[in-house]
């Protein structure tokens, strides 16, 4: 099976980081993975997205044009990529920043007010990890505990606070239920 994921938003929202977590987890789970950023001249503030592919077979093109899963963290990326999601795919949208709803009936739409949840819980910048929590819950692509373990293993152990915050953000997303 091959899962093609596109994660898009503004630079600084942790879009690339979120993609790396999925790719790294996939690699450690023995799968083939690729992670390809769409890079721009700006380091912060511009649009950013990355293509992540997790597969049990050799990966051909690392570019995701028609994602199985789209993470959308701003209205620009929603407008640009929502229509490209494969039928049967899933949209994860940050409803704090995207007021629109998808009109597509052939995809599953998951709306999480990730940015608001992050600031309510004093986890500024944690919207990406909140969304990862929800993504793992919805897709079951990887086991929850294993994913958390992998995610925090890349954080230096002297940054205990950061590890805690990431764990907290993940579980907020994982346990979030839409009304």
């Amino acid at each position: 099976m091959t899962t093609k994921i596109l994660i898009a938003g503004f630079g600084g929202q942790g879009v690339l980081f979120a993609g790396k977590q999925i790719a790294k987890m996939g690699m450690d789970a023995g799968m083939k993975v690729s992670w390809l950023p769409s890079y721009g001249p700006e380091m912060r503030g511009g649009t950013a997205n990355c293509s992540v592919i997790v597969s049990d077979e050799e990966i051909g093109s690392p570019i995701v044009n028609t994602p199985d899963i789209l993470f959308s963290f701003n209205i620009q990326s929603f407008d640009k990529f929502e229509k490209s999601i494969k039928a049967g795919g899933i949209l994860f949208a940050d409803s704090s920043l995207i007021s629109k709803k998808s009109t597509r009936a052939d995809i599953k739409c998951v709306y999480v007010p990730a940015t608001e949840l992050a600031s309510e819980n004093e986890l500024t910048g944690g919207a990406n990890v909140i969304m990862l929590g929800k993504f793992i819950k919805e897709t079951g692509l990887f086991a929850k505990d294993e994913f958390i373990e992998h995610m925090v293993s890349s954080i230096p152990s002297n940054k205990a606070k950061l590890i805690e915050n990431n764990k907290k953000a993940f579980s907020i997303g994982y346990n979030y239920e839409e009304n």
Binding site: A23, V33, W35, P37, Y39, I59, G60, S61, P62, N65
Partner: protein, 353 residues
């Protein structure tokens, strides 16, 4: 060693270090700056040197100096910067100096763009500087292969005393894939008795030079070098053949484009179209024989590149125009989709039925 997830740029830098390279000279340019940053972090910790030069021109000349001194050395840049290096590259060829030059290609001409391109194919394979010259040109298509090509590049460079170029592109430089660095670090490097390390008053002086005022002397130095080129063409051709044996349509592509082609070929096969790929890993020496052999059974060839068709002429020459060769490519940093390529395969498939 376990696999690690790395960007192409970082994997090449790490592979260079593991190949015994302790000297890196460069100048920042997108999309390859991670190499300098990686080297700047690692080199001081292992007794190596990463020096940011005042220009690409200075950087390649520092490489020339370090190579003259007999050490393994590399530089990296992206298209506009490689143009600036071409003077130094020509001098290094003329002085028989090995080194690794990495071109993480971006769009041109001029300042072009910063997105992936393969539009320096001609420059890399035909004219990387003035004079009669070749570089060995390697074009990996995955992060693992980029790392493997790096260590190969140093070995080939030392073996034949030629500069070696890795022709990558912005996508390969920036993308991450798992990579495994095979074996232990290289500690025993080949002897370089020709290097200018000081005579120690024990031998005659060594001279690193590309100047010959007597025409016959210059000619014989070139002839000697071309004899080495003949050996390289005979022994160092590398390519990958994918579903090519029974293919009616052979796609010829390299680097990141070959990955997209692989997906497209898989789609074509599902539709019953017999497509396959011959992917040059060495762009010079070029896998002429493999293509000629494929022309005996295949009906048509399709070249796919991120340029306007620069490799097409090499394919036509390799197969002596015995089969039609068509081209599909995108430029400016636009990447073709597998569907676009599939459409081309279908068109060819339709007419050869």
């Amino acid at each position: 060693m376990a696999k690690v997830l790395m960007k192409g740029n970082e994997a090449i830098a790490e592979a260079a270090i593991r190949s015994g390279c302790r000297h890196y000279f460069g100048y920042p340019i997108t999309p390859q700056t991670e190499i300098a940053e990686y080297m700047a972090k690692r080199m001081p910790k292992i007794g190596g040197l990463c020096l940011q030069a005042e220009s690409e021109i200075a950087a390649i000349n520092m490489v020339l100096g370090a190579s003259s001194a007999g050490v393994r050395v590399m530089t990296s840049s992206s298209s506009p910067g490689i143009s600036l290096k071409s003077e130094g590259i020509s001098y290094m060829v003329g002085s028989d100096l090995p080194c690794l030059i990495l071109n993480v290609q971006r769009g041109g001409p001029g300042l072009g763009g910063i997105q992936p391109a393969q539009s320096d194919y001609y420059q890399a394979t035909k004219a990387n500087g003035h004079g009669d010259l070749h570089l060995i040109v390697l074009a990996p298509n995955s992060i693992q292969e980029a790392a493997d090509c790096t260590s190969l590049a140093f070995d080939l460079g030392d073996k034949y005393r030629v500069p070696v170029m890795i022709l990558a592109d912005g996508a390969l430089g920036q993308m991450m894939e798992p990579v495994e660095f095979s074996g232990n670090e290289k500690t025993e490097l080949p002897e370089k008795p020709w290097a200018t390390t000081g005579t120690g008053m024990k031998r005659k002086k060594n001279i690193i030079n590309s100047l010959y005022m007597q025409p016959d002397e210059l000619e014989s130095s070139i002839n000697e070098r071309f004899k080495r080129y003949d050996v390289i063409e005979k022994n160092e051709v590398r390519y990958e053949s994918y579903l090519a044996e029974d293919a009616d349509i052979i796609l010829v592509c390299y680097g990141i484009t070959s990955r997209i082609c692989k997906t497209a070929v898989g789609m074509a096969r599902k539709e019953g179209i017999k497509a396959g790929i011959i992917r040059p890993i060495t762009l010079w020496p070029y896998p002429k024989e493999a293509l000629a052999k494929a022309a005996e059974t295949a009906s048509e060839f399709l070249v796919v590149e991120l340029n306007k068709g620069q490799m097409t002429s090499d394919v036509k020459l390799a197969i002596e125009c015995s089969r039609p060769v068509s081209f599909y490519g995108r430029t400016g940093g636009v990447m073709p989709t597998p569907e676009e390529i599939l459409e081309q395969i279908r068109m060819i498939g339709g007419r050869i039925k």
